[in-house]
Amino acid sequence: MKRVLCLLSVAFGINSILYQRGIYPAETFTRVTQYDMSLQLTTDAMLKNYLTNVISQLKEWLFDCTVQKLVVVITCLETNEVLERWQFDIECDKTAKESSAPREKSIKAIQEEIRSVIRQITATVTFLPLLETACAFDLLIYTDKDLEVPEQWEESGPQLIDQSEEVRLRSFTTTIHKVKSMVAYKRTNST
């Protein structure tokens, strides 16, 4: 249940990032109430398909605790430069993988934390530089080196930003995972 919570939160986080940064037009999103918050979920079929693929794979790997990071990379289509990187570090408590004993943290508390993360994502948009050009996003997953990946997945570079500013955001913990979130954006010349 809690792992699912983690995944769900990740999915919602990605959706909110896409909505807030305007990668996809706002009219392609619908509002959904979750965690006592109104969240935006995309209605674009291709995007939904893509996200479900990624998240399903992610779920497997999370279960195996082979995921280290999940990164949302926003690229400018004209210049092919990476403009923003939303990074979620996932620390897995491997000892708790097998056991299913309940831990102390309640679901409500976890929900609170997730809510705060999503709120923080919306808040960070205020100081991020505007994305004026047409952009596209990509989801990268940092895994263990020896992991076998399915055919649809390929290795890629880390797609780092040249001259970036980094901001650390809140982290939230389920009993099994600890997720630290941060955002890195390309430094604008006006600063």
Partner: protein, 681 residues
């Protein structure tokens, strides 16, 4: 005298001090054999007395200093007084000088005033004279004018007279002429009546006579005219001479008056300057009077000082006398002061010399006191021992007596022997105990020595270890800092998304939105390029042909009919334009030829607003007039510009353009002239 008394007191105090110092030595020596307690008291009292004497000495010295200061103050005060008196003298002298100057200035002022009055009187007289002269001059002028008028009248009358005379003479001459004519006629008649035969000669004779008479008449007439003129001139001469004389006299008179005027003006200027000087002098006098008053006040103050101080000063000489006395007193006092200072210094030197001696003596006294105390303590111990010994002796004596008493009753030696043995045993025990204690002591000392060595070693090690600890701590801090820096870097890289390729890899779906978007973009770009190229080709074709072609590509072109219609319209418009142009040209040509023929001028527009007119009858082709239109277009105002041809027509230009201001008249005049030239030549 007070200083001398002070010196004596100083010396007396020194002597007493010395005596005090010497006395306690004797008293100390005397009281030594006794227990010494009274000696201490004496010492203390003597010390107190010494201190009191020292305090007295100090107070005396302070007193002396104060008296010296007081004397110095008095001296300075007296010096100030002397200076003030000197200044009073000098100021009084200045006052006197200024009083004298004042008197002189007053006298000068009086003289100047008298002179001023005289000058004013003279000025007034001169002014009156000037006025009288002016009046005379005016009267003379009037007289001259009257005379002129009279002269003119007289001349006129004379002229009239002369004219009458002349007329009379003329009349007379006319009469004479008439008479002569009558005579001539008579003669003629006579001659004709008398000698008709001689008529042939007589007319000639008469004619000759007539001619001669006529010549004489003419001459006489000329002479008469000359005579008239001469008479008139001659009549004028005496009068003119009279006038000249009078005018010369008046001129000389006026020149004299002018000179007098100038002289008077100079005098007045001189008098004015004198007035100014006198005024300045008056001002200075006022200032001097004010100063004089101030100085008088000061003098009175100085005199009052004399009265207030009560030194019986009436004149500055008394002041000087007193000043001299004061100076002498001052000198004496200075000498005394110097002597006192020298004595004081010597006294101080002796005092300073005595101070270490006193210190030494005190130290000695203290040592001796200590010795005495030690000796007292020894004495006490000795006394105690003596007491103990005496008590022991008494006790022993008592024992011996008891033994002796007991011996009388029984034998005492075995008891004594027992006791002696017991004592000896006790002694041995005590001795062994002593030796044991001594050995233990030595052992303890040895152990203590070893412990000390160990402690030293340990301290050395401790120092060494402390140094090591400090070094290690410094290293640790450095390493911590490096560690922190590295951790920060790691964190930063981690934030940026760096990863360890050995342990992690980055994966993503092949069909991810970014790649899809990129593909789409490239496709779009390609499409756009292709379209661009097609459009360019089409444009080129259209520009080349000028006619649209049916292509495979679907371009939206306007229908051809519109273009044909437009072209037809264009052609018709062009035809119309051409026709209009031809018509205009024809008309213009007609009009111009008509103008040329009718007006006689060919009008060309060479430059804007400039019109060149060439006449029909122009002698040369280049002869032309240039007109420029001025003012607004269509107002018709024209100006003639200069050309070579127009310069030849200056007369006409002046007449018709400047005076009559009519260009058509001018042009017509030009044509007429040219025509006339043509016809004539």
């Amino acid at each position: 005298m007070d200083d001398m008394e002070d010196d004596t007191t100083i010396f007396s105090t020194l002597k007493s001090f010395k005596s005090f110092i010497s006395c306690p030595d004797r008293s100390l020596l005397e009281t030594e054999p006794a227990f010494g307690r009274s000696g201490l008291q004496n010492l203390y009292t003597k010390r107190v007395e010494l201190e009191e004497a020292a305090e007295r000495v100090r107070s005396h010295t302070s007193l002396l200093q104060l008296t010296q200061e007081k004397q110095q103050m008095e001296l300075s005060h007296k010096r100030a007084r002397i200076e003030l008196e000197k200044e009073a003298n000098s100021s009084s002298r200045d006052l006197q000088r200024e009083i004298d100057r004042n008197r002189e200035l007053l006298l000068q002022i009086r003289h100047l005033k008298e002179r001023e009055e005289k000058a004013n009187q003279e000025l007034n007289e001169q002014v009156e004279n000037n006025k009288a002269l002016k009046r005379n001059f005016e009267e003379l002028h009037k007289k001259a004018n009257e005379k002129d008028s009279k002269l003119s009248y007289s001349s006129i009358s004379m002229m009239c007279g002369t004219l009458r005379d002349v007329r009379n003479t003329g009349i007379k001459y006319q009469v004479s002429e008439k008479k002569r004519k009558i005579e001539k006629r008579m003669l003629n008649l006579y001659f004709t009546s008398r000698n008709s035969l001689i008529c042939a000669l007589l007319p000639l004779m008469c004619a000759v006579h007539l001619q001669e008479l006529e010549r004489r008449l003419a001459l006489q007439e000329q002479d008469s005219v000359i005579v008239k003129n001469m008479k008139s001139e001659v009549a004028r001469l005496p009068e003119l001479e009279r006038e000249i004389k009078r005018l010369r006299e008046e001129n000389t008179f006026l020149r004299e008056t002018k000179e007098n005027n100038s002289l008077l003006r100079e005098e007045t200027e001189g008098l004015r300057r004198k007035l100014e000087r006198v005024e300045r002098v008056m001002e200075e006098k006022l200032k001097v009077e004010l100063e004089k008053e101030k100085l008088e006040h000061e003098l009175q103050a100085w005199e009052n000082i004399g009265q207030s101080t009560g030194l019986n000063i009436r004149k500055p000489e008394d002041l000087s006398r007193e000043v001299i006395q004061i100076q002498q007193r001052e000198l004496n006092l200075k000498q005394q002061n110097y002597t006192l200072n020298s004595s004081i210094r010597s006294v101080e030197k002796t005092r300073t010399e005595l101070m270490p001696e006193i210190a030494q003596l005190r130290a000695k006294a203290q040592e001796e006191q200590k010795k005495r105390e030690n000796q007292d303590s020894l004495v006490r111990r000795l006394q105690k021992r003596v007491l103990l010994l005496t008590k022991e002796r008494d006790g022993m004596r008592a024992i011996l007596e008891s033994y002796d008493s007991e011996l009388a009753a029984s034998e005492y030696s075995p008891q004594l022997m027992l006791r002696v043995k017991e004592a000896e045993d006790m002694l041995r025990k005590v001795q062994t105990h002593n030796t044991e204690m001594e050995t233990q002591l030595s052992k303890a000392q040895e152990e203590a020595g070893t412990f000390k060595l160990q402690a030293q070693m340990v301290s050395v090690c401790v120092c060494f270890f402390r140094q090591k600890i400090e070094e290690l701590e410094a290293e640790r801090q450095q390493l911590e800092e490096q560690n922190n820096i590295l951790e920060m870097r790691l964190e930063r890289h981690n934030l940026q998304g760096d990863y360890d390729p050995v342990k992690t890899k980055v994966v993503h779906l092949q069909m991810n939105p970014t790649s899809i978007a990129k593909q789409q973009r490239t496709e779009e770009v390609e499409q756009l390029r292709v379209e661009c190229q097609r459009l360019r080709d089409r444009l080129r074709k259209i520009e080349a042909d000028g006619v649209m072609t049916t292509d495979d590509t679907t371009l939206i072109i306007p229908p051809s009919q519109e273009i044909l219609n437009l072209r037809k319209q264009m052609e018709s418009a062009e035809l119309k334009n051409q026709r209009l142009k031809e018509v205009f040209q024809k008309k213009i040509q007609e009009f111009r030829t008509a103008c040329y023929v009718l007006t006689g001028y060919q009008i060309d527009i060479t430059v804007e607003n400039q019109y060149r007119l060439t006449s029909v009858y122009a002698e040369h082709m280049e002869d032309s007039l240039l007109f420029k239109s001025t003012g607004s277009v269509g107002s018709g105002s024209m100006q003639l510009l200069e050309t070579d041809f127009s310069r030849t027509l200056t007369g006409l230009v002046d007449l018709h353009l400047f005076h009559q201001k009519s260009i058509p008249v001018f042009l017509s005049a030009v044509t007429i002239e040219l025509f006339s030239h043509q016809t004539v030549t």
